[in-house]
């Protein structure tokens, strides 16, 4: 179809903590890598989408200052942990709208050892109590009115699933981490590349029950980038670029619709289900067609919920699904063969393009030791709390 969208270049840095590179070094590495992969230069690019969550001032333009100031429109975006996917969609939408033929999307983050996300500041002991803000609070609420930090928030999301469904408990959540750490041992781009036994995971430091340390993603640095084009432009590209092109069969973004209690405990399920359903419909693909999935395992408890939200398992059956090892790389639908956020790492702005890098690399048959044989169709999912969700379905080129 004339309006199909294609990924022709994709790249990511290894996720880790970089001492000698800054944010723009990382973004440059990924952007130049993706352009080289597409056999293009910055001069060919018509639009740039730049995603970074913690540094929102002109990251795209700062990147251009290093790799090429060509005067094209730049869109700097931030959308929680879906920031990278949002940058990708900026490029995709510009191409779909006919404003651009070649789009570059870059997602980058430098977090270092940032620590727990979601914390407010301590109370000011010298100030008289005075209600402030929309809740009329006289001080910070984290730890006084439940937890606001990410490990506990996602722990509660998992426990909610465990409450409603049978066969889900601490061990099932821990098995998710066992799988993803094992998968990461095959990925040279992962921040950590070490397998752990289920016992090591369950007996590790408890962060927020049931999430132990190894069931929480690390903070880190990294970047990922993708080059997109339309079918018409693809036709005039070198045979090798056409052969390696990956079709974007669905690109969907949702926000969280109203649900009772959603203002108290973020609902990470409904918007994921809606995005997945729209993506399957738009791509004409069913969950059983998927050869691999990269989903948003910021915490082990989250991944288990998303088996169900993405319709990978039977409704309510996520516990049984992990017990049967269905999401392992040799299972029914391999999930997070990159190691996932839990072990590959989660530099927030990069994540939503890094998962596209991972699936594209498998569809091209270039994933080395971790290659899923004969992968034809894959799905990527990210969720940013607050909330934003993106689902992409990618397919191997027929050419």
């Amino acid at each position: 179809m004339a309006d199909d969208l294609w990924i022709i270049g994709v790249s990511m840095t290894r996720f880790m903590r970089y001492k000698d590179k800054d944010l723009i070094d990382l973004a440059s590495d990924a952007a130049l890598g993706a352009l080289g992969d597409a056999e293009l230069t910055i001069s060919d690019v018509d639009v740039l989408g730049a995603g970074c969550l913690f540094e929102t001032s002109g990251v795209g333009q700062r990147l251009q200052k290093q790799i090429g100031q060509t005067g094209i429109p730049v869109y700097n975006v931030a959308n929680a942990c879906a920031t990278g996917a949002t940058a990708f969609r900026v490029a995709a939408m510009a191409i779909k709208a006919g404003e651009a033929e070649i789009g570059l999307a870059v997602g980058v983050e430098q977090m270092g050892k940032r620590g727990l996300l979601g914390a407010g500041g301590p109370a000011d002991a010298d100030k008289p109590f005075e209600p402030a803000g929309r809740y009329g609070a006289v001080g910070p609420v984290d730890g006084i009115l439940g937890t606001s930090l990410m490990p506990g928030t996602f722990a509660q999301a998992g426990m909610e699933y465990a409450y409603v469904n049978d066969g889900v408990g601490f061990e099932q959540f821990a098995k998710v981490a066992e799988k993803n750490h094992a998968h990461s041992a095959l990925n040279p781009l992962a921040q950590y590349q070490k397998a752990f036994s289920l016992d090591e995971i369950m007996s590790g430091e408890m962060i927020a029950y049931p999430n132990t340390l190894l069931m929480c993603c690390p903070t880190g640095d990294g970047a990922a980038a993708a080059v997109l084009t339309n079918s018409e432009r693809l036709k005039s590209m070198p045979a090798e670029v056409r052969r390696r092109a990956v079709k974007v069969s669905a690109s969907v973004m949702t926000s969280d619709p109203y649900v009772d209690g959603g203002s108290v405990q973020y609902d990470v399920n409904t918007l994921t289900r809606q995005a997945a359903d729209q993506a399957y419909e738009s791509a004409g693909v069913s969950p059983q067609d998927l050869d691999l999935v990269e989903l948003h395992d910021c915490f082990a408890t989250a991944e288990l919920c998303h088996y169900d939200n993405l319709r990978l398992c039977e409704p309510g059956g996520a516990g049984d699904w992990i017990d049967r090892r269905a999401p392992w790389r040799d299972g029914q639908i391999p999930v997070n063969v990159s190691g996932g956020l839990l072990s590959k790492g989660h530099p927030l702005g990069a994540t939503g393009i890094a998962n596209i890098y991972e699936v594209s690399t498998h569809l091209r048959g270039e994933a080395g030791d971790r290659q899923i044989d004969n992968a034809k169709v894959g799905l990527t999912h990210v969720i940013g709390l607050g909330s934003a969700c993106a689902v992409h379905i990618l397919e191997r080129s027929a050419a």
């Binding site: 439940g146 506990g152 909610e160 049931p210």
Partner: protein, 136 residues
């Protein structure tokens, strides 16, 4: 300041410290019944702008919980955070108090009831009172 009865202030605006029986209050959308604890501009469920205040039940059930072992330096750990579905409507997040911070002492679906506790006293001697939930 009367030392025997220090001035008290609710830690959040949706806690009402009425004599001996504190309770939670919500803004209820007159049109669709959605409940909110914050100051509203309009209803996130239906978009209408008319609200009325509604007193919520003090009893409910634990829909989800977590036991927080690592937090920021100013928060004492471990503690139990829970999402509680209140009888008759409304969902609230708070700490479970008076339970051991171990999974064996807490169960999903467990019945709980509202309680209050003092968080601190400011330089004027005003005591901030927060709420939590305990086993009945």
């Amino acid at each position: 300041m009367d030392d025997a009865h220090p001035a008290r202030i609710p830690y959040v605006g949706y806690l009402v410290l009425d004599d001996d029986e504190p309770y939670l209050t919500a803004s209820e959308c007159v049109s669709c019944g959605a409940l909110y604890f914050d100051r509203r501009n309009a209803c996130a469920s239906c978009g209408k702008q008319e609200f009325q205040s509604r007193r919520l039940a003090s009893n409910g059930k634990v829909r989800a919980y977590t036991i927080v072992h690592r937090s920021t330096p100013d928060v004492a750990v471990p503690y139990v955070s829970a999402v509680v579905d209140l009888d008759g409507g409304g969902t609230v997040k708070a700490n479970l108090v008076g339970v051991k911070p171990v999974p064996d002492d807490i169960s999903l679906g467990m019945k709980v009831t509202l309680t209050t506790f003092a968080v601190g006293t400011d330089r004027n001697g005003t005591q901030a009172i927060a709420f939590g939930y305990r086993k009945p």
